[in-house]
């Protein structure tokens, strides 16, 4: 009988207990993997290659203030800028106020927009139809499916910020890398219908010539308008999104709090199991010692058992998290780009190993130090 077989046999001699411990560890590590995945996608991911080249310019005071439309040509002349389009939040209502009918709508310039967002994969025909129809719109395929739209359908979006109801025809459905549930239309429509919006834009999206030039382009654009009545703030697309996340509150502290609680909880659960299981086997330890097993070997046996249980729990947990995350991301919205990756799972497994090790160390150490005679006399 090899040592590893011995460990495995011991780990499963009380199947119920081992099973419950594994499940408990699995659920905790599922949560931990989930939290780490959210953290990674918010703070560590760089986004797609095309996204890394995009910037967003807005009014320095706030998103609620408009930028003058002529800024577009001024921005275009900044070195490193390839394309620039208006990108104006419409904030309209579709049908009613139900949350499932809420989605983002942006006014833009279709022709140049399609040059910036080449990852949207519209067919040339769809693209052409959208550019030609001033009252045309394109929508995320996922959103269209949810609300039952087809190409050619007519929809009405009621304005809340702008006193106009847009009557749009769906001209194309795009398939972005990450679902964004957004509708884009020609901002000229709003400019014609709302006199005070003529020659204005909410924000501008810029495509830089390379990801390396993004920060120099950002400061060059802001320098252009620094002393004007309407100063700007330009950030990379990722930094802008991060700004929105930071508005949700102290997300970092929030995630850390939950992760900390989870890790301590599994440590307790696992330590509890090992303490129970080792105490039950006091007499066996004495027998092992009599047979000539060293203290180190005994320590290794128990620690190995705990680590094995924790790893199984960890594997189940991170697999569960992978399933859950793909379910969440298929629903779209803010978490559409979530995905559990290898390193995250690896970190979860390392945490599991550490927890197993720490939880077993103290009781196993006591067991290994025990006097043989006391151990044999022990009544379970």
């Amino acid at each position: 009988m090899t040592l590893s077989l011995f460990v495995t046999k011991n780990a499963f001699r009380n199947r119920l207990r081992s099973g419950l411990t594994i499940l408990s560890v699995a659920f905790s590590l599922l949560l931990l993997t989930l939290m780490m995945t959210v953290w990674r996608s918010f703070y560590l991911d760089k986004g797609s290659d095309e996204s890394a080249q995009r910037l967003l310019t807005r009014h320095k005071v706030s998103l609620a203030n408009f930028l003058p439309g002529f800024y577009r040509e001024r921005i275009r002349s900044v070195p490193g800028v390839v394309h620039v389009v208006p990108y104006s939040w419409f904030g309209g209502k579709y049908k009613d106020e139900k949350p499932e009918n809420f989605f983002a709508q942006f006014g833009t310039d279709p022709a140049e927009f399609l040059k910036i967002y080449q990852d949207y994969k519209l067919t040339p025909e769809e693209a052409n139809n959208w550019v030609r129809d001033r009252a045309g719109a394109i929508a995320d395929e996922h959103l269209a499916k949810k609300l039952g739209w087809k190409v050619g359908d007519k929809i009405t979006i009621n304005g809340t910020i702008y006193p106009v109801n847009l009557e749009l025809t769906i001209r194309g459905l795009f398939k972005p890398v990450t679902i964004n549930d957004t509708l884009f239309f020609n901002s000229a429509y709003v400019e014609e219908a709302v006199p005070w919006f003529k020659g204005r834009a909410g924000t501008f999206v810029i495509l830089a010539d390379s990801p390396q030039h993004v920060s120099t382009v950002a400061s060059a654009v802001d320098d252009t308008f620094r002393n004007s009545p309407v100063p700007t703030k330009t950030e990379s697309e990722k930094a802008f999104l991060l700004g929105f996340i930071s508005m949700l509150g102290n997300v970092k502290a929030f995630i850390l709090f939950i992760c900390g609680a989870v890790v301590f909880a599994i440590l307790l659960v696992s330590a509890n199991t090992m303490a129970m299981s080792i105490r039950e086997r006091t007499r066996e330890v004495a027998v092992l010692k009599t047979l000539g097993f060293t203290r180190k070997a005994i320590l290794g046996l128990f620690v190995g058992e705990a680590v094995a249980l924790a790893i199984i729990g960890g594997l189940l947990g991170s697999m569960g998290a992978t399933g859950l995350v793909s379910l969440i991301s298929s629903m779209g919205g803010m978490f559409a780009s979530l995905q559990v990756n290898g390193p995250t799972m690896a970190v979860a497994m390392v945490v599991a190993c550490l927890v197993g090790f720490l939880s077993a160390f103290v009781p196993s150490y006591h067991a290994s130090q025990m006097d043989i005679v006391d151990g044999l006399r022990h009544i379970g």
Partner: protein
Amino acid sequence: MAIPISYNVRNLRLRKGLTLMTALGIALTVATAVFLMSLVAGLDRAFATTGDSHNVVVLRKGSDAELTGGFPLDTLQTLRSLAGVARNAKGEPLASGELVTIIVLPRRDGTGEVNVTVRGTKAIGIALRPNIKLSEGRWFQPGQREVVVSKSIHARFAQSNVGDTMRFGKGFWTVVGVFDSGGSAYDSEIWGDVNQMATDFDRTGGVSSAYLRAEDTGTATALAKQVSDDQRLKLDGVIETDYYAKQTRSGNTIKVVGYVVGFIMAIGSLFAAMNMMYATVAYRAREIATLRILGFSRPSILVSFVLESMLVSLLGALCGIVLMLPFNGVQTGTSNQVTFSEVVFSLRITPAVAMWAIVIGVLVGFFGGLLPAWRAARLEILAALRG
């Protein structure tokens, strides 16, 4: 006959280590649940306590927030002369046209910039919100570049002490006072003179919203209806309390995250509690058999073990609540999904939150104890005595 509960208590004390570890595991779950629930409770309070049922908020038809509303000043004149609007001692109607926008301010602790709501109003506007008290300094003067900040803004943002200057709009503004609205949504705002703000934000000739005060709540309801029904105005009147209550949906993200996290953690600790109870039952097999011989029935053993499990988890729940008590009242902020600006609120461990925490803990104990107790109750007496 039921087994006395002191039997369970003594057993738990006998195996202190096991009991404490299991209880602490449940305590961590409960602490997380308390944390999430107190966030939601604080947020709910911020919106639920905002507003006065005597006041009517008037917005442009179709718009559901002040930030996205807006109508011309001459419409405001019509509103001022409506019947039902209360008047002050001087005979002026208690109606205030207000300008609302958002600005970006750096946080005091240097963790980035946040959108903050700025409200332009007048003395009348302050008068029609009697719940708002000045806690430091004085109110702003008309025509001056002066602002009064709320207590939370004062605590959380840089350059917001009395005497400081902040830069937004077209220049610098002096902070002349701090107001306290008792934890309502106004606690996340900065107030200044409406005309001065209109010039700074290029919004002269219009207002974002209007606030009308009625003599009593009945008149207020009628006034709101009158405004909404008037075809010429193209406006919507909403009772102020209803307007803010609708914004509580800003807490939805936290709520959903809270449910998911709380649920997963509760299941994790359910298994842990089950584990402990199975071990307890295994240890005490002979004891249980003895109890049976003494004449305690199967149901009474089942009840006794479930109770024991619930006792442990109750202890855990109490520990969890105590662990979180120091966080009661800690201020935090989230983004208001209607106004896109930061709403400041405090974590509130209300009696309801504590009660729910105990319910969660006890439920974990109940379900965790049920199967092991079932096993205890069905133990074969002879086999157990021999074992």
